[in-house]
Symmetry: C2
């Protein structure tokens, strides 16, 4: 496996190594024998690239399998009967998508690159093989999908809160996810537009803009276009407390 050893404190999302990639537990899950690990390595296609705006898979198309993002970022979006987009999630390096096609064998969502990205791909037809040869890996996938469910419940909880809390939580959530992958948690690029943030959080993009400016004016954050620096994490956390 080709590790790309690039500084982890970079302010943009750079390639993750196999060690901190979320595929880690798929490529080399604890408790699995070497045969299973070797088998998986043969099944995964590495080093796929998409440019900003290009899709990895489309809603309505046949299940492509699981995708692990190695660098860059993406959005996961669904569409209503009228074609209106709903941004379900933003995907950061080391994170996995594809669950939206697994149950029905048809993708429910579209995954679109927010900037140039690189991903690994476990094709759909090879998952059936894993059921027989590497049941432990399927169990890992089950745990991951339950993690996704937990996140969705978290988002549902946030949707009861004010727009200010939602934006504060959003910034802290991205920060934390970057941190656990070894990136800078205090300075990073928000590669999605205000409109996409608003869509995801269920608030108007004008409101997102106003709140970001508010946080900046209060010196909680500094933002230059898409480049964000968290100045006062504690104050952002305070926004999540009941009194606000």
């Amino acid at each position: 496996m080709s590790d790309l050893n690039i500084s982890k404190t970079s302010t943009t999302y750079r390639p993750v190594t196999c060690e901190n990639c979320n595929l880690e537990n798929l490529c080399m899950p604890k408790g699995l024998d070497k045969q299973e690990i070797g088998g998986l390595a043969l099944l995964v296609n590495r080093n796929n690239i998409r440019q900003r705006g290009e899709a990895i898979y489309h809603a309505g198309s046949p299940f492509r399998g699981m995708i692990a993002l190695r660098s860059g970022s993406a959005k996961l979006a669904s569409f209503d009967q009228n074609g209106n987009e709903l941004v379900v999630a933003f995907i950061l390096p080391g994170e996995i998508v594809g669950f939206d096609g697994l149950a029905t064998q048809l993708h429910n969502c579209t995954v679109t690159a927010l900037e140039t990205l690189n991903y690994c791909h476990l094709p759909a037809h090879k998952i059936e093989q894993l059921v027989i040869n590497s049941p432990g890996l399927i169990y890992v996938l089950l745990q991951r999908s339950c993690n996704e469910l937990d996140s969705q419940v978290q988002k549902m909880l946030m949707s009861r809160h004010s727009a200010e809390k939602r934006v504060a939580n959003f910034i802290l959530n991205i920060s934390e996810r970057l941190r656990v992958r070894g990136y800078s948690e205090l300075e990073f690029r928000l590669s999605m537009s205000r409109k996409e943030i608003g869509n995801h959080l269920g608030i108007a993009h004008e409101t997102v803009s106003r709140i970001i400016q508010l946080f900046q004016s209060r010196q909680f954050i500094e933002i230059k276009s898409k480049q964000l620096r968290i100045i006062d994490k504690k104050e952002l956390f305070n926004f999540l407390q009941p009194i606000h």
Copy 2:
């Protein structure tokens, strides 16, 4: 397995048979050999009972395993740091809960009986055994959890719509879920309170009440306390269309 052959057109939620129970695919999934099926039958505890208000498991407690509801109904709820309840879902006969504890081994949610209910229980410690002995069953669980994710995305989509659309969709959703399990889709008991419906849909209970009265005044539905009859399904569907 003891089948309880009770009329499926009953207006309250009665016991499901093994054939239409959602555990069906766990008890006797297609493509699994008899050894696996027999093995599972030994692992599942049947005929557990809870009275209205009693919990099957609590948020924060260790993962209890998977629960399949055989009769009655329940609510799945999470809580914020302040103790405010969020109704994540309502559970109908034949449906499964427990995914909220699988990833972290701690339950994220509480499941509470909305009326007397009966359930089957696959204990947590036996799931590990299934990974080795019945990998096909774990794959079925994975598909189920992905189905849950799909539903969550559906709910997220609905949250962008008006309160009227949300209530119309809620009624039609319950109706459809009862239908696929073989119950009457046009006449049933809404065992949850207006407050719980509102909590789940993200609207005030007063608003739920007003909209239900509106639907009744327009002769789309007839409601006596918790007993609901759908008079004009087509009109309810119309509410989901863009023009409204």
